[in-house]
């Protein structure tokens, strides 16, 4: 047996599981780094931070999703056609979302909640369809992995994580989409938000619960590294409770951390 790093194995597995999503994720990581560097050349601001902050975040987020899905698919003994098609849909939906976010950011405009023109309103609702396919097909892949768990803890955690993450992300995103924005009270700017995350420190921010909920996809497999089933389910429960708690805080106009 050759000794190797878990992270190396993770990347290899992600590439084995879905070469498409793996290479797409690598490009997105590069995209995220590039967007983080953009403020050096482009001083324009949106909501108090660089216009490139949002594409940087979404590139990062979708790269992590792509790698997670690729890795999770590699746990399957045999890849069913439904799973393969799902990865292609995820690839497509991810890049359509990204293309629109980058396009609007380049113009210094919003993408989510941006309905200033009839065309923008239509495009925003189309974004919703693709966003929903991101969670729905992630959840579907999770379901197939859950079905094939066969007493293997990592498969159980990966499957459950994808289902739970998809569910919590969809519920929080569904509520977000019924709003005019992700802030409830407070300064309504990212300038006074937390560093990096930019979550509001002055009022409610629905992005917190969305973030915690969707990352159940990663938290559960990480918990499974302990080799203990109770830890996996404990962490799952914590994800649900933390999502609900931060959601309730947000709709009551309370920041996660008050400045």
């Amino acid at each position: 047996m050759k000794r190797t790093y878990a992270i190396t194995e993770f990347f290899k597995a992600a590439r084995r599981g879905s070469p498409l999503l793996y290479w797409s994720a690598i490009v997105m990581l590069v995209g995220s780094i590039a967007c983080h560097a953009m403020p050096l050349f482009d001083p324009r601001l949106f909501n108090g931070v660089s216009v490139w902050e949002k594409p940087a975040k979404f590139f990062m987020s979708l790269a992590v999703l792509g790698l997670t899905i690729g890795w999770a698919v590699s746990l399957l003994q045999e890849k069913a056609r439904g799973v393969l098609v799902s990865t292609r849909i995820l690839f497509l939906a991810g890049w359509i979302e990204m293309a629109y976010i980058v396009f609007r950011a380049g113009r210094g405009e919003g993408s989510h909640f941006y309905t200033a023109t009839p065309l923008a309103a239509i495009l925003y609702s189309i974004m919703g369809v693709f966003a929903l396919s991101l969670t729905a097909f992630s959840g579907f892949i999770g379901w197939r992995i859950w079905q094939s768990r066969d007493g293997y803890l990592m498969r159980e955690a990966a499957g459950l994580g994808l289902i739970l993450g998809a569910l919590l992300a969809t519920l929080t995103a569904g509520y977000l989409s019924s709003m005019q924005g992700h802030w409830i009270g407070g300064d309504q700017t990212d300038a006074t938000g937390l560093g990096f995350f930019h979550w509001s420190t002055t009022g409610g921010d629905l992005r917190v619960s969305h973030f915690i909920g969707l990352h159940a996809m990663q938290f559960l497999p990480l918990a499974a590294m302990s080799g203990d089933k109770r830890v996996v389910y404990g962490v799952g429960l914590i994800c649900i409770l933390a999502t609900v708690a931060t959601f309730v805080m947000a709709i009551n106009g309370m920041p996660l951390l008050r400045a």
């Binding site: 937390l194 560093g195 990096f196 995350f197 420190t201 309370m254 920041p255 996660l256 951390l257 008050r258 400045a259």
Partner: protein
């Protein structure tokens, strides 16, 4: 959540970690010590620390280059809290590490009665005292 509330919560969490460490020594459960006090609790506090640093450090005034700047840094409640959580995490870790060394090297367990409170209150003093004790109480060969 306000900085004061998170301060209270992290203090309680750290205290609980110390209680687990104490229980593990009294009940002779090294696994509790190694899992909870050496790893999980300091790691959880470190995670909180990272969140606070990422969230507030880079926006705060001040820096590490001059004492006045360090003082300025600690006038921001969340940054001061991050500093405090740093203490909590590392003090518990050092306390647990000292307990582990005392047990595994077969040094008198009663030493912990002094070393742990000292580490809890003033951890560098406890750390230094452990190293002194380790030399003082080391087993030596003596010829008749």
């Amino acid at each position: 959540m306000t900085a004061s509330l998170v301060f209270q919560l992290s203090n309680m969490a750290a205290l609980l970690g110390w209680l687990i460490l104490t229980a593990s020594i009294l009940l002779n459960r090294p696994v509790w010590r190694d899992f909870w006090a050496v790893q999980l609790w300091p790691l959880a506090l470190s995670a909180l620390y990272i969140i606070l640093i990422v969230g507030f450090f880079f926006k705060a005034q001040g820096g590490f280059d001059r004492l006045e700047n360090v003082q300025l840094l600690f006038t921001a409640p969340w940054v001061a809290l991050a500093g405090w959580v740093h203490y909590l995490a590392f003090d518990l870790f050092v306390g647990a590490w000292i307990s582990k060394r005392i047990m595994e090297e077969g040094l008198p367990r009663l030493l912990l009665l002094v070393l742990l409170p000292l580490t809890f209150m003033f951890s560098p003093a406890g750390f230094l005292a452990f190293h002194v004790c380790r030399q003082v109480f080391s087993k030596v060969e003596v010829s008749q």
